[in-house]
Subunit: 351 residues, 2 copies
């Protein structure tokens, strides 16, 4: 506490990210990181880019990466915004597009950063309860609002909305921005990117942290109508000219270009998810249908916090949230087969 | 323009950074970049760090780098804040520490981002005119304010305040934060860091972009009382959990640890600055005394915009600002001896 703090600082309750433990032999299934490393072509590109040129500022708008991402999604470069992780892109969206009178709508169970951004930018919001099966009912969002945001698939539930449902939401909500946070879309969902040229109020965020294995490099992006991108650019260029560094631009370009590696990694994770789900169901777990690189589970006979504690004792860390409605659930990131097996072995011994 | 923009977006006039030209054989003296590459130890550390670990999130607060910087400045780790370039640190300072009733004070001729941050966070500000010789008169800042910020040395003038002058300002201004932006302090100034344990309202920013040759990597930091750092942390953790990536943390640590390389690079630039100043004076330029890696010059007989244009034709780019009071001046970054010689040759042919 300090007398020198701005008023807003006193009211903030910052986001708590998944723990980054210092101990190295843990099985880390708590932060939805990709168990496979980045494409070898990405690592090679970074090494080649590590030169005296690092003395020079990067391209302020990461143009080479914008171009590659635009091409990848069959969009124009003016429809692409690059940021320091999708968290930074989301923060700019909240400031650039959500500061209006009405309430911003998002699910009651969702990415924990949304209420935090709202407080940071003093945006009124209303949490819309998920259905009992943790699905989003899009009809619940047809009400006065100054914006709508949800992850698809949702986090921490993993549940997916179809493109048809996103379209239906857009048809019924034309006066404010609908942001679809597609951090986990590559693990079995269909992206709503194909709707961008039809709906000027649709904004999509994606990240290289999950399906591209680059959480350590910090690249995310936003896709939408050029006017929305310009709004974000104005915020970005009033905040930090160069948020994405030279090596991150190089890594991003190489990553998007290595489609085969990306696809094979995603396929492996989807396959592992299917196996682990079957095994958990066998020992009595209830598993929410997931289209993400994590699953959301509960066991009718065991307390989730206790299970998390016991797993931790056996060197497996997963994520347990304190929120009332989900405190009997665990979110488990999909690891490599041998890590998943270790998780299953420990859980088998516990239940 | 878009109906979906938040109100604040309409009023923003974003910062325009020094051009990053695509043509590679230009002599680039326009963005105060270091003409020498980063320490070879930094490049080696980045290459070694380029591994599968990039799939994992970085340490959210860049703790290894915080530790090294704290040690370097003989401070505690709680007195250090790391950001994505000092621009991000400054943006957080404006939001965390300057949103109060009174006006924020800064020089009329200074870093162009200050009024832009003020608009982004809707902070009232008052520009204090520099003296005719472009020096800051600290007595002018003894008036009601909600904060004071200036670069030391100032940009684009290069003029330096002594630590005694900074201390005097702090003694006379105890009710609001004084931020000293020391982006250029390593080129001949004395840092006010030694005052941090004495004055709880002093905040200092530094960067690895200039004297550490890492503009392309994006690392800056803030130093101040632990309570002020906590205020910034709250903003940062409500904005972006991981703004500094794994390779930037590694590069930063290696850079701070290679003191000899840093010192020899700074020494070379200071020596080059002395030579170029002497040569420019010989051909009639007026040169503002500089303690930075750039100089601020004018010629009584030649129009600055014309000189900039002619230099550009000969492949030398320097920075010319449109602001009325300085539109007859040019800001020239110090290059390698051969680049400076090329600049002098062209100017000799023009005047």
């Amino acid at each position: 506490m300090s007398l020198f703090w701005s008023k807003v600082v006193h009211k903030l309750h910052p986001y708590v990210p998944g723990e980054q433990p210092k101990i190295s032999d843990l099985i880390k299934l708590n932060a939805n990181e990709n168990p496979y490393g980045p494409s070898p072509k990405v690592l090679e590109a970074i090494r080649l880019g590590t030169s005296d040129n690092l003395r020079l500022y990067p391209d302020p708008n990461a143009e080479p990466l914008r171009q590659v991402i635009a091409k990848h999604h069959s969009l124009n470069i003016e429809q692409v915004f690059i940021g320091n992780g999708s968290d930074e892109v989301l923060a700019h969206i909240f400031q650039a597009l959500f500061q209006h009178d009405g309430p911003l709508l998002f699910p009651d169970i969702t990415y924990g950063f949304y209420p935090i951004y709202s407080k940071l930018y003093q945006i009124k919001y209303k949490e819309i309860a998920l259905m009992d099966d943790f699905s989003i009912n899009i009809d619940d969002y047809i009400q006065a609002n100054s914006g709508i945001i949800f992850p698809n698939p949702n986090s921490p539930t993993g549940r997916l909305l179809s493109v048809a449902e996103v379209r239906s939401l857009l048809i019924n909500n034309t006066d404010s921005i609908v942001v679809v946070d597609e951090a986990y879309i590559d693990f079995g969902g269909e992206s709503a990117v194909i709707l961008i040229n039809e709906y000027s109020n649709l904004f999509i965020t994606q990240t290289l942290s999950k399906s591209r294995s680059l959480a350590g490099i910090r690249v995310g992006y936003g896709l939408g109508h050029a006017d929305l991108i310009e709004g974000l650019m104005r915020i970005k260029n009033s905040f930090n000219s160069y948020p994405v560094d030279r090596l991150a631009i190089i890594a991003g370009v190489a990553s998007i270009q290595d489609h085969n590696y990306f696809q094979s990694t995603c396929d492996k994770i989807i396959k592992s998810r299917d196996i682990i789900v079957k095994e958990l169901v066998k020992i009595g777990f209830k598993v929410t249908p997931s289209a993400a690189n994590f699953i959301f589970v509960s066991h009718p006979k065991y307390n989730a916090a206790d299970l998390a504690k016991e797993l931790r004792k056996k060197s497996v860390i997963i994520r347990h949230f304190q929120q009332n409605r989900i405190k009997e659930h665990l979110r488990i990131s999909i690891g490599k087969p041998e890590e998943n097996q270790q998780l299953l072995t420990v859980l088998n011994s516990l239940v």
